[in-house]
């Protein structure tokens, strides 16, 4: 199954209530799969092709405001278009899932895979003080698994969650184990707009507070939530780090590439290890900080001009040299290149 298809099937099985999207390569299979799979008959899930990404994200806002499990997916230019809506969703504290199957940019760029939307995903993207919970799958299996995880986290914290994937994992086929079908939830969160009954105050979904002091209080509550997420939800994987002298840090497709680099390096007696952040927000600062003291150098490997490397540097805080390596513009880094680069730094 392709990564994109795995996301779609996993969404149906996770009991998602709705998907709204607009075609864009390399993620159109998500909408195509959902349309062909007839989820409306299977679970009652609504699938709609919107007239634009702007429309799609605002449909998500509406659905999420009703307390439903809703999602959208797109690729880089489309995610840029959605940013205003994403900011509103974060401000209004609505849970939802946004999938970005990243392609190279800026602009129309290329339809080939890249990891150049890291800043956009973890540092805001839209306007205002907010964070998305960002998950970075490195296999088709994780594309499927992270759908449910993302929904769970989104609802736990009333916060939008993003799966930050890329064209390689979206288009790639691998073996995948799918979870059994879950019933769509009938539970309605207390804050959802479902029609005011006599029993409760009216529910309002908004990100607006014209009184600056009240707005500040709202933002402080958001900050408290982000600190809690940072305490509880950091996820990462470590490969061969115990005896490592050289640490690679990479997520998603680059992490897969680096696993091969490790094999090649170890075969030559070079003690390389890999730390793979699974959550990009919250980022595993603490873990990287403590690993740094045992390393000679650290290389952040990304298919971008070097974005995550800034967070790695923040974590390392000058203890050891930190470098960036990676190809851009839709060129996928090859395992050998990473090793060749590493050797120039040893």
């Amino acid at each position: 199954m392709k990564g994109n298809e795995a996301i779609a099937e996993a969404a149906i099985r996770a009991g998602a209530d709705a998907y709204f999207g607009y075609p864009i390569t390399p993620q159109s299979e998500i909408l195509e799969y959902l349309m062909a799979a007839n989820p409306h008959e299977r679970t009652g899930m609504v699938v709609l092709q919107a007239e634009s990404e702007v429309a799609a994200i605002n449909m998500v806002y509406g659905g999420a405001g009703c307390g439903k499990k809703v999602m959208t997916s797109s690729s880089s230019p489309g995610i840029s278009l959605k940013q205003e809506g994403i900011s509103y969703i974060a401000g209004a504290q609505l849970p939802c899932l946004i999938v970005n199957v990243v392609r190279g940019g800026p602009g129309l760029g290329t339809i080939q895979p890249a990891q150049s939307d890291y800043f956009q995903a973890v540092k805001g993207g839209g306007h205002g003080d907010y964070h998305l919970i960002v998950l970075a799958p490195a296999s088709v299996q994780e594309m499927a698994d992270f759908v449910e995880l993302a929904f769970d986290l989104a609802f736990k914290y009333r916060n939008p969650a993003m799966i930050l994937s890329d064209g390689a994992i979206g288009q790639m086929m691998e073996k995948v184990y799918l979870k059994p079908q879950k019933q769509r939830s009938t539970e309605v969160p207390a804050w959802a707009t479902t029609g005011k009954t006599k029993e409760r105050e009216r529910n309002i979904i908004t990100s607006l507070d014209l009184d600056p002091y009240a707005q500040e209080q709202h933002l402080l509550r958001l900050q408290e939530k982000y600190r809690e997420i940072e305490r509880n939800e950091v996820r990462f994987e470590e490969i061969m780090v115990d005896d490592a002298e050289f640490l690679l840090v990479a997520y998603g497709t680059s992490a897969r590439v680096c696993q091969k680099t490790l094999q090649l390096a170890r075969a030559e007696g070079i003690k390389a290890g890999l730390l793979r952040p699974i959550t990009l927000y919250p980022f595993p600062y603490e873990r990287i900080r403590s690993l740094a003291s045992h390393m000679k150098i650290i290389v952040s490997v990304e298919m971008s001009m070097g974005q995550m490397v800034e967070d790695v540097k923040l974590a390392v805080n000058g203890q050891v040299p930190v470098y960036h390596f990676g190809r851009m513009g839709g060129v996928i880094t090859e395992p050998e290149e990473v090793l060749e680069y590493l050797k120039t730094k040893i």
């Binding site: 607009y22 075609p23 864009i24 390569t25 159109s28 909408l31 195509e32 349309m35 062909a36 007839n38 409306h40 709609l48 092709q49 007239e51 634009s52 990404e53 702007v54 230019p77 129309l108």
Partner: protein, 270 residues
């Protein structure tokens, strides 16, 4: 098969019935065989050449199969974000009113993501030409449903056929913009036969004239085929288009300026 020598015999000046417009570059079209985009590019180039407008033309191409129009037409062209060509063209025309400005857009671009830009440019009566290629499908991204996809028509996001209850009705953008006072010339054409090509070319020529006179937005829909997206041979797709697309998207003029209007504008100019 003819040898190269044999061909030379045939290509004598007196035998020449067709010459490629000098505004078409030597870059091979990226369009699939039989697609209407290529022919439409050609007639736009021919009109601009015949009207001697090349130095005063700015084109705006969309995101879609024709995103690379700037590779094929030897003109100044801006490539707009998906759906935003009319907004881009608005600014160009307002800043350089003496230029001939046109957009070239597919149905996903113009009638889905860019509906708002299209309607508002037409409603403001921007003095631009909008060429709208309606092939009833998203060609570039691999055959997804467009707003113009016919009822019951299959696409990769309407694999069981477009169900209008779930997915809405095929959108007649051309009828819509014809209602707006800002448009002066609204017509629906096609390029699937030599006669149709001649008519479509004439329509573009008229639009050039109206734009010169500052009469408002000209909107030319070209009902087109998409052999790859429709999964047909070019011949089959043209036949299917005549039988199905034309029944819903009827070719012909929807709005033409009264002769007197055109003349009045003429006089004002003089």
């Amino acid at each position: 098969m003819k040898t190269a020598e044999g061909l030379k015999d045939i290509i004598k000046p007196e035998n020449l019935v067709y010459r490629k417009s000098s505004l078409i570059t030597d870059k091979p079209f990226s369009y699939c065989p039989g697609c209407g985009h290529g022919t439409t590019h050609r007639i736009i180039a021919e009109v601009i050449e015949e009207e001697n407008l090349a130095e005063n033309t700015i084109g705006v191409c969309p995101v879609g199969c024709s995103v690379l129009m700037y590779d094929f037409l030897d003109l100044d062209i801006q490539q707009a974000a998906h759906g935003r060509a009319p907004a881009v063209a608005t600014a160009i025309k307002r800043l350089m009113p003496e230029k001939f400005v046109f957009t070239y857009q597919g149905d996903g671009d113009l009638a889905a993501i860019g509906t708002s830009e299209t309607i508002h440019a037409c409603n403001r009566g921007e003095n631009i030409l909008i060429v709208f290629i309606n092939n009833g499908i998203y060609g570039m991204t691999g055959g997804q449903m467009a707003p113009t996809t016919l009822e019951g028509m299959k696409s990769s996001t309407s694999p069981y056929g477009r169900d209008v209850k779930m997915m809405g009705n095929p959108l007649k953008m051309t009828e819509l913009v014809a209602m707006l006072p800002g448009t002066c010339y609204v017509t629906r054409q096609s390029v699937h036969t030599p006669a149709a090509v001649r008519k479509a070319k004439k329509a573009i020529k008229k639009a050039v004239g109206y734009q010169k006179k500052g009469m408002g937005t000209c909107f030319i829909e070209i009902v087109s085929n998409c052999p790859s997206g429709w999964k047909m041979t070019p011949v089959e797709s043209n036949k299917w288009m005549e039988e199905n697309m034309f029944a819903y998207y009827k070719p012909g003029d929807l709005k033409v300026p009264a002769e007197s209007d055109a003349d009045a504008e003429n006089k004002n100019e003089q």
